[in-house]
């Protein structure tokens, strides 16, 4: 590890700390419907949207109505994104003439679900598959809408804690509109202009062919990248314009853009912790959640960075300089430190943008992103998703604490009873089951070669790596799907009907079987009375609670996924140090002898 390397991690963290309160105050104003400094410029737009869509700003919804609106909105989003993609060959702004055949029904379904669920898993590579119109009108749009929907759910759940003896938790359409108009759009505009000034491209031109110095022809890709890049980061979406995502020099050209992109990922999730404290009228509660997230974030970096810096002993033996660390799948301008930091941040959040290829990380370096995703991305997390995920763990944590002392658990003055705990467990079990069952089936399933469902044949024939790392590619894919992350151990080719459809289902389960139980919790909590704090109340703003909450996240994750992780990155770590190599994939797993 180098001094500048450590310094950029520390400075990044301090910038996030400094931005949390101002961002949180602004978000609180927006979602409480108070006047912000942007109202003189944007209030007309908000009002116009309500008017044209027939939305009544002052009308509130019960949790069932709120959920129904969200589901309906998502269905419309999936249908529209699907139709647009399938029709791309007949639509304008398609200078490379990408036709409909490359956008197969299963791929279009996967991509539509992927962007609507804020996952942004990509079975395709943008520069060879998707027209500019689709990038803008289908994919960029869902970057905004899925992000705004996620924040809306977090705010609705927060209202459940903040209110008492009411039936309603807000209005989905109003929360959605405010998120887009006052939060995501302004941040994206500023971000896009900054990124473009640093070299991120933004045009509608066809690709340019140049003659290289050695006389060969090289295609330089073009497109409206900056506008998608900025919302991809602030909305924690993570779906790249190009296949290489934020490693591509046209998406992330300099160390400075890299630093700014990292801050953009954590900006809203960190601000939401402050919003939580503010709305429940006890900012210490928000900071306790912030502290838990910070602790887990720093632990992750402290594992990944040294693991990547130590490099790959197998390559060192071949004569490579060990001091430069593991550089396979990394860019020189970012190096080991900024790449390790990015890998941790993008999986702490449910962002999924990558500036290094996670598939080529060292086993322990890759274990942290995988584990981050599997614990539900609650370390700052996705916009909204991080806060509501962490509140779910808070419910589990006070439940465990309540069992230990034999008292009805309370959190933020609300009694946590059967219904809340059941709903929290439903969300946790649904995602875990989806990840583990789909990974298990894909590891053993066999199809006829060149058939429809999976042309390569067996589910493992789609992998680049074999042995434990091959298994990790499958496990990472379904974890990323259910976690709505979108990053990948990219050696797996998921653009076949089998993977496109199972991953699509995986993403839907991870999004909606998480959100709907939590909205039910919100409704149930809002109806409850706030109980008075007594000497017997377990305080949820101190270091003891931070430790308990962080412990709950890690222990629930470890208990659920340890066997799978042991078969993947953990055994791979020991095999790497013993110099064991794995050749091409043959047949089905496990094949590491």
């Amino acid at each position: 590890m180098t001094t500048p390397g450590v310094l950029q991690i520390v400075v990044f963290f301090l910038v996030v700390v400094a931005l949390t309160k101002p961002m949180g105050l602004f978000l609180t104003q927006v979602y409480e419907g108070r006047r912000t400094f942007l109202h003189p410029v944007l209030r007309w737009l908000e009002a116009l949207i309500y008017k044209l869509c027939g939305i009544r700003e002052d009308e509130e919804q019960k949790w069932t109505q709120y959920s129904f609106a969200l589901i309906l909105f998502s269905v419309v989003g999936v249908v529209l994104a699907y139709v647009l993609q399938r029709a791309q060959g007949h639509l304008p702004l398609n200078p490379q003439n990408f036709g409909t055949p490359v956008m197969t029904p299963d791929l279009a379904f996967n991509t539509a679900v992927s962007f609507v669920t804020n996952t942004n898993w990509q079975s395709y590579s943008g520069e060879s598959t998707v027209s500019y119109l689709i990038q803008m009108a289908a994919l960029t749009v869902q970057n905004f809408l899925s992000g705004a929907a996620g924040i809306a759910v977090a705010v609705a759940l927060t209202r459940g804690f903040a209110r008492q003896q009411v039936k309603t938790i807000g209005n989905f359409w109003v929360d959605l509109t405010r998120g887009v108009v006052y939060v995501l759009l302004p941040l994206s505009i500023v971000g896009a202009l900054f990124l473009c000034s640093q070299g991120v491209i933004q045009n509608l031109k066809p690709n340019v062919v140049v003659q290289t110095l050695e006389g060969a022809q090289q295609v330089i890709p073009m497109g409206p990248v900056a506008s998608q890049e900025s919302i991809k980061m602030v909305g924690t979406n993570g779906g790249g314009f190009f296949g290489a995502n934020s490693a591509h020099p046209f998406e992330n050209p300099t160390p400075l853009t890299n630093f700014v992109q990292l801050v953009m990922i954590f900006l809203i999730p960190a601000g939401l912790t402050y919003l939580f404290g503010r709305m429940v009228k006890d900012t210490r509660q928000g900071w306790a959640i912030f502290a838990t997230m910070s602790l887990l974030f720093l632990i992750g970096v402290a594992i990944t960075y040294p693991a990547e810096q130590a490099g790959n002993p197998i390559l060192t033996k071949l004569g490579l300089d060990s001091t430069s660390g593991n550089m396979e799948g990394k860019e020189v301008r970012f190096g080991v430190s900024a790449s390790s930091l990015f890998a941790v941040v993008t999986t702490d959040a449910s962002c999924g943008a990558v500036n290094a290829m996670h598939d080529s990380l060292t086993p322990l370096g890759g274990l942290v992103p995988l584990f981050n995703i599997e614990t539900g991305e609650v370390i700052f997390g996705g916009v909204g998703a991080g806060l509501y995920g962490m509140l779910l763990f808070a419910i589990v944590a006070v439940f465990i604490a309540g069992l230990m002392v034999g008292r009805t658990p309370e959190y933020i003055g609300k009694k946590i009873e059967q219904k809340e705990v059941k709903m929290a467990m439903l969300a946790l079990i649904a995602t875990a089951a989806s990840i583990l069952i789909f990974s298990g089936i894909s590891s053993v399933v066999d199809f006829s070669k060149t058939g429809y469902w999976n042309p390569p044949g067996a589910g493992t024939a789609n992998l680049t790596n074999s042995g434990p790392h091959g298994f990790a590619e499958i496990l990472y894919a379904f974890s990323s799907g259910a976690g709505n992350n979108g990053s990948a151990f990219g050696g797996i080719n998921t653009n076949t009907p089998w993977y496109n459809l199972t991953m699509g289902l995986d993403m839907l389960i991870g999004r909606f079987l998480f959100i709907i139980p939590l909205l039910a919790v919100a409704g149930s909590l809002a109806a409850k009375k706030r109980v008075a704090t007594t000497s017997g109340t377990f305080p949820t703003h101190g270091p003891l609670f931070v430790g308990l909450l962080a412990g709950t996240v890690v222990i629930v994750g470890a208990l659920t996924y340890f066997p799978a992780l042991a078969l993947g990155p953990i055994v791979e770590h020991f095999l790497m140090y013993s110099g064991k190599l794995f050749a091409a994939v043959v047949g089905s797993l496990p094949i590491w002898s």
């Binding site: 289908a138 090289q218 550089m327 020189v332």
Partner: protein, 193 residues
């Protein structure tokens, strides 16, 4: 609850218009005026023709040029197929590739002693990495100087002027832009044809 269908469809279409057309087109318009060079790919010209982008790496195989990193983008630095090798650390293919590249490097740079800079033997994440580390450039100076018939110190000073340091002293890593370096080589010490 079915009355929500109207708002669902209307708001989706309206926000598609706002965030999917007006927003990206407005950003395109503004950036084309404010930052036309960057917005259009930071292209560089040589002899009046486009010779590449200063942000996108190129394949360099001739001994008189500084070589880029191995690339997994298509058959190498293919702008339509960005990506890494995705080889895990225990991949046989990774070891085979690195072994072959190490042998080639040692043959091409017989003067080099000690460990080889890792970035020069590993594929980048994008397959389009425009940079190599200063160490990786230094490892090739003797070879380039010999082919170009120039003193090694002169080549070294070209490398130094093509080297970018860490932003604000702590962000990212020091790096050499290979295309810019090779362009300045061609200017100062043209290869005899």
């Amino acid at each position: 609850m079915l009355k929500e269908i109207g708002p669902a469809i209307k708001i989706t279409l309206l926000l598609t218009l706002l965030t999917g057309l007006i927003y990206p087109l407005a950003v395109t318009g503004v950036t084309q005026i404010l930052f036309p060079h960057q917005a259009n790919g930071s292209l560089v010209t040589a002899g009046g023709k486009f010779a590449g982008s200063e942000l996108i790496g190129q394949t360099f195989a001739k001994p008189g040029y500084f070589h880029s990193r191995p690339s997994a983008a298509g058959s190498g630095y293919d702008g339509t197929a960005s990506g890494g090798s995705n080889f895990g650390p225990t991949s046989q293919k990774l070891t085979d590739r690195v072994k072959a590249d190490v042998d080639k490097f040692q043959k091409e740079n017989p003067g080099h002693t000690g460990p080889i800079p890792a970035d020069l033997m590993t594929a980048s994440a994008s397959g389009l990495d425009p940079h190599i580390s200063p160490d990786a450039a230094e490892a090739q100076v003797d070879r380039v100087a010999k082919v170009r018939g120039a003193p090694a110190d002169q080549i070294r000073s070209l490398v130094a002027s093509a080297t970018e340091s860490r932003t604000m002293g702590f962000l990212g890593e020091p790096r050499v832009n290979v295309l810019k370096l090779n362009l300045s080589l061609d200017n100062r010490y043209p290869l005899s044809r």
